[in-house]
Symmetry: C2
């Protein structure tokens, strides 16, 4: 379960360069579906010569080897996560954060898509996360105090 990067890299035949190790470990700790830019900015202090090209190269390799997955929910920029366990996603439409939630298995009538071969199923929920609800309540209170009036939704 708690595999180190060494085990994973060995199993997938990825030569363990320091840059690859750090990008892998960053994905492992920060469970926030980072963008390339986020990964780059988070590691540039530690790896001063790092370039975005390298981040792209390493992620591409990880995806080919099956240890990383792209995440793309209603957005133009790609996000990345370790391909560890199956789960679904909740995207907060206020702050843009993507949360992992327990896997939702869609139920549907096979006859509706007869002739189609299904290899992958994806369920995404969109809405407002607890943190943003909290901020909205504070905003609303402020506005009431200022004489305005506004419901949360």
């Amino acid at each position: 379960m708690t595999e180190t990067f060494k085990d994973v890299f060995k199993e997938k035949e990825i030569s363990p360069s320091y840059t690859r190790k750090r990008i892998y470990e960053y994905l492992e700790q920060s469970k926030n579906h980072p963008t390339v830019d986020k990964i780059f900015k988070s590691l540039i202090d530690e790896l001063p010569t790092l370039s975005k090209t390298t981040v792209y190269n390493v992620l591409k390799l990880f995806i080919e080897k099956g240890i990383v997955k792209m995440v793309n929910i209603k957005s133009s920029e790609m996000r990345y996560e370790l391909n560890e366990y199956d789960h679904s996603h909740f995207k907060c439409t206020t702050c843009g954060t993507i949360y992992d939630i327990p896997k939702i298995i869609p139920q549907y009538n096979k006859d509706d898509i007869s002739g189609f071969i299904v290899n992958e199923e994806e369920v995404n929920l969109m809405g407002v996360c607890p943190s943003c609800q909290h901020n909205l309540v504070i905003e609303t209170k402020k506005e009431k105090k200022n004489g305005r009036n506004k419901t949360i939704f």
Copy 2:
């Protein structure tokens, strides 16, 4: 049910320019979730002065008025569709075509996402469409004929 663009535009207070009419009608006929480029290329013969900016402008207006929705399944480019009836999507990973399929309503335990407000649910299926399965079979037959051997998947 079969509303004309006139009814829709009147209801949504969209002034019915010819360009808007044609973009709306294109979305209405071609149920293929077109990209901006697809729309542009499809209408440029008929509207020789059309620009992509205008396509973007019109789609942005339609989205604000709620008559068009963006579709974005595992891709960097946006696709568009009329916001007519609720449905789910199947994306063919071979040819990239997105098919409308009957709405799949995800079933999940509310306790799993307690504290989160869900405003939208999305189910996407990915796989191989009938047309691409057909082509793969033909390809495989050709390859067998040529002495090679390759399974479909």
